[in-house]
Amino acid sequence: MYLLTQVTSWRDNRDSSQRVHPRDVWELGYREYLINPNRIVDLKVYGNGSQFLFSDNHRDRRESNSFLRTNSTVAEIITAHDTEFASNFITLPFCPKNDPERTPVDTTLDVGDIAYFDRYNDDPDNFCWVIYNAKAFKRIEQLVAYNIEQVEDVAETGTTTTSTSTEEGEQ
């Protein structure tokens, strides 16, 4: 099962992006990600949490791992990895061309192909990013019309009971 975790540090060689932005650190001290434990290597205790290597594309030997520190304990990560998904496939509403204005298309992925989910900064209550692999071939970033909690629901139960929120404009 995926694990919603507070990541305090994420160092990667892939794109030099700051996955835990200084703004996140300044505001909360962490950024929440929904990660797939099947990408974790060398899991160790660090303080009250954990540290480990994480593979964005575990099937590709050219992919160097990134390094994470999180507030989740080793035991919590092990429990998450031992928990079964509702199904080996997960269906997510993909926004075509990563455009939140477009009508989402339900798309089914193997749960093992997904690396992690990240909140969509512009509208985290209604959208999130899924980072997954087309098997070993390539890494894909896709906008999904679910928030992270809804994705957690779907992975765990096969359906979501949480509704997305709508901003109401002034009349």
């Binding site: 496939f89 993909f94 089914t108 992925l109 193997d110 098997k135 070993a136």
Partner: protein, 157 residues
């Protein structure tokens, strides 16, 4: 993860050779563990990318449309074979006159299985599997798709 039989209506590939108009009625046993980005194209049909060799970064996935709906494929993907290995009777050198050799192959390594008209009358099948990321292997097995299902432990679907 499991193999499931379906009629394929589109199979676009960059690899050499035709996929369609080879098997009887274009019916193939496909492996759910190769499917990427599956979408429903109607209530009864679906389309998806299909990785021939999911462990090889050089392998660009094919595109397949088939007469099996998303829900059914999901059910197939949630099945578990009796053993991680299946026993396949492979004819040495594609020669039906030779004695087939029982060979253990992991279910996850099988890409697809189909029957040509000759296979149908001889009760054999063509099978494509991968030696992990290393290489693609095509062989002739002394089994029908039904026999393969029985070997997996899925007699009634």
């Amino acid at each position: 993860m499991s193999l499931f039989s379906t009629i394929v209506t589109e199979w676009t590939t960059k690899k050499p050779g035709n996929r369609l108009r080879v098997a009887i009625n274009d019916t193939f046993m496909l492996n759910t563990n190769r499917i990427i980005e599956m979408v429903a194209t109607s209530d009864l049909t679906s389309a998806f990318w299909y990785a021939n060799d999911p462990d090889d970064a050089r392998d660009s996935p094919d595109h397949i449309a088939c007469n099996c709906d998303v829900y059914a494929i999901q059910q197939y993907h949630d099945r578990v074979e009796t053993d991680k290995f299946g026993t396949f009777s492979i004819f040495p050198g594609w020669d039906r006159t030779e004695t087939p050799v029982d060979t253990e192959i992991e279910w996850t390594d099988i890409c697809y299985i189909y029957q040509t008209p000759t296979d149908y009358s001889e009760r054999t099948s063509h099978m494509v599997y991968y030696r992990k990321a290393w290489e693609r292997v095509e062989c002739l097995i002394d089994m029908t798709p039904t026999d393969v299902n029985v070997e997996a432990g899925f007699e009634a679907v």
